[in-house]
């Protein structure tokens, strides 16, 4: 697949996203169903409007064949988001800095960087910089770090 093709957004994807926007509106309506009085007016109006606007956007999505986007391709973007979720998950368990040791190379490889020595040196340099800035300079209370023997 060429980079140009990767920048296009399929009809299915656009309809799915418009559907999710409409679903958000429905969830807002459902959550505020139990509310009464002035507190309920704004959220209910927002929920109903979101459903209508998502429907309008979905109808108009059929009029454009293959729009392009400035964002990264869907497969790469979603993979990166999954890796970021894994990074956050592991950070709670082994620390933000320790988790960076796998996250930086993994995402760099995903982005097409293949120079192993380059990745290794930059990862170590970055981890050291993060340690100095957050642990030494800012003295931020972060989750315990495996590499610092805090676990």
């Amino acid at each position: 697949m060429s980079p140009d093709q990767d920048r296009t957004v399929s009809l299915v994807e656009r309809l799915t996203i418009h559907g999710l926007v409409g679903l958000t509106g429905a969830v807002i309506l459902w959550d505020t169903a139990s509310l009464s009085g002035a507190s309920a007016i704004f959220p209910r109006a927002i929920g109903a409007a979101l459903i209508c606007l998502a429907a309008i956007s979905a109808v108009y999505a059929f009029r454009i064949r293959s729009p392009t986007t400035e964002e990264v391709g869907l497969a790469m973007g979603l993979s990166a988001l999954v890796l970021l979720a894994l990074y956050i998950w592991t950070s709670v368990r082994i620390g933000f800095v320790t988790s960076s040791l796998w996250f930086v190379p993994a995402l760099a490889l995903l982005g097409g960087e293949r120079r192993a020595v380059h990745i290794a040196l930059l990862t170590i340099g970055f981890v050291l910089a993060v340690l100095i800035v957050f642990e030494v300079l800012f003295k931020q209370p972060l989750p315990p770090e495996l590499i610092l023997g805090e676990l």
């Binding site: 999505a61 729009p67 960087e113």
Partner: protein
């Protein structure tokens, strides 16, 4: 007018100067790397500003804002890749000058023009914001309700090709803004049983997710830097005579940039392109435009920098941000417990006027750094963005955690980032989301207060001249998509359709 002087002393304090130096250098570096923007850098910085003094964080923000606009010109001139969206028009005349062996001259023109634009803009902020504050003292809940609606409507409709998406984005932002306890009744809304949401969602978490995560993901798709750029810095530097000869262009573009900046929904990219078009249209000899005319670079760079401080006029005076950067600035102030608006001028004149001076001083810091560090900043073009991407995401995560000591905030940041990425792919603009989150609660509270004051009389919402003017302005903005549609309808037979448009 003299009250502006109250801010000078705090702005030139040691901590403030250091913050401005760091911010400006970081801004130029960020702008010089294609894919990194001022909004990303400011969103990245935002969680760390909790621990800073107000003028330290704002000084850094001011430096990033001004510096990144000039930084964006470096790849635009040397590689024909706009480092920031605002530098698009700089690609018209910059690269031809580089091909003529005048790369250094082109960068110097961009630097002088950026400085001039920033100075014009900062002066306009100092001159126009105080009178607007005096005027806004007449505003009550009704007027604030309409101001908030105007801000959201303008940004939602003017930024999006498709009005439905723009408005939906604004509404999603309002939904985020009203999460937590209703300030007037104490009722919990959209909390879904999650205790961490009862206090509402931090604006810093939202801004970091929206403006740092998608650009960091976009950096995974490599930008072709086009080889070595070290040889591009050839030729003679700009001479004083040549810089002075640009003044008509700089004044014209500066004024255009200031006007665009004040308008909600417009931005630096529009200011740069409009300035370029206007300078070209008014030039006696147009033959060199697009082939290396320094006036083209000057117009674009002066225009996009003149948009900077002026976009903060409605933010500081009314508490209504007109674009995403202004929203980030407002976020930085809210984090410090400072509520932009007329009260800020009365309660914290040292901060608000100090910030105006910082916008001016960072323009001159940028000039000095630009002349002294051009060779260094050009090296930024060689940084592999695929490695920068995870580093940005890590700093976002740690910064978000550190700001609130809450892992829930980090998950929320990821959620907002993921949502922003998907919504952007489908053509939803992100600035209305932020505007909605900030202005939505203001609009709701003002609406309910106004209903109490007017005892439910709807005519009370159009009882003052300011209200009527604002309602007319909102109707005008609402009519814009209709005008666009009518124009498009006339051109229906033309074959070319903009690829990214999903016009509804």
């Amino acid at each position: 007018m003299l009250e502006v002087l109250h801010g000078l002393a705090p702005a030139i304090g040691l901590e403030s100067i250091i913050a401005m130096l760091i911010g400006t250098a970081a801004g130029i570096v960020v702008g010089a790397i294609p894919g990194l923007t001022a909004t990303l850098a400011m969103a990245l910085l935002l969680p760390f500003t909790y621990t800073m003094a107000p003028l330290t964080s704002l000084g850094m923000m001011a430096g990033i804002y001004n510096g990144s606009m000039y930084g964006g010109a470096i790849p635009a001139i040397l590689l024909k890749i706009p480092g920031t969206p605002s530098a698009v028009a700089t690609t018209f005349d910059g690269p031809p000058l580089v091909r003529e062996g005048r790369g250094k001259f082109a960068l110097h023109v961009a630097l002088v023009a950026s400085t001039a634009g920033s100075v014009i803009s900062a002066l306009s902020l100092m001159l126009l914001a105080p009178p607007l504050v005096t005027f806004s003292l007449r505003f009550g809940p009704v007027e604030y309700f309409w101001v908030a609606i105007f801000g959201m409507t303008a940004v939602s409709l003017l930024l999006a090709d498709a009005p439905a998406k723009g408005i939906a984005a604004g509404l999603l932002g309002i939904a985020v803004g009203i999460v937590g306890q209703d300030m007037m009744t104490g009722t919990e809304r959209l909390v879904f049983g999650v205790r961490d949401l009862a206090g509402g969602i931090s604006i810093a978490v939202l801004l970091t997710g929206l403006f740092a995560v998608p650009p960091a993901l976009a950096m995974l798709a490599p930008v072709d830097a086009g080889g070595d750029v070290r040889d591009s810095l050839k030729g003679a530097a700009i001479r004083l005579r040549e810089a002075i000869a640009l003044w008509p262009t700089l004044i014209r573009s500066g004024v255009i940039g200031v006007i665009i900046g004040i308008m909600p929904g417009a931005g630096g990219n529009l200011a740069g392109i409009l300035s370029y078009s206007e300078v070209k249209r008014s030039a006696r000899d147009q033959s060199r435009f697009g082939k290396g005319d320094p006036r083209g670079i000057a117009a674009s760079e002066c225009g996009n920098n003149a948009d900077n401080a002026s976009s903060l006029i409605p933010t500081l005076a009314l508490g209504v941000p007109g674009n995403s950067v202004a929203a980030l600035m407002m976020g930085a102030m809210l984090i410090q417990g400072l509520n932009p608006g007329p009260a800020l001028f009365a309660e914290h004149p040292d901060v608000v006027y100090g910030f105006m001076w910082q916008m001016l001083i960072t323009a001159f810091i940028m000039l000095i750094m630009g002349f002294a560090g051009a060779a260094l900043f050009v090296q930024m073009l060689r940084i592999p963005t695929a490695i920068l991407s995870p580093m940005i995401l890590i700093v976002c995560s740690i910064g978000t955690y550190a700001a609130g000591n809450s892992i829930v905030d980090v998950w929320l940041m990821l959620g907002f980032g993921g949502a922003a990425y998907l919504l952007s792919r489908a053509g939803y603009p992100m600035a209305p989301v932020v505007l909605g989150a900030i202005l939505g609660p203001l609009a709701e509270n003002s609406f309910r207060q106004a209903l109490l004051i007017t005892r439910g009389n709807p005519l009370g919402f159009v009882s003052s001249t300011v209200s009527i003017v604002l309602v007319l302005a909102i109707l005008l903005v609402l009519g814009t998509p209709l005008l666009r549609w009518l124009r498009r309808d006339r051109r229906r037979d033309e074959p070319s359709i903009p690829p990214a448009s999903e016009g509804s």
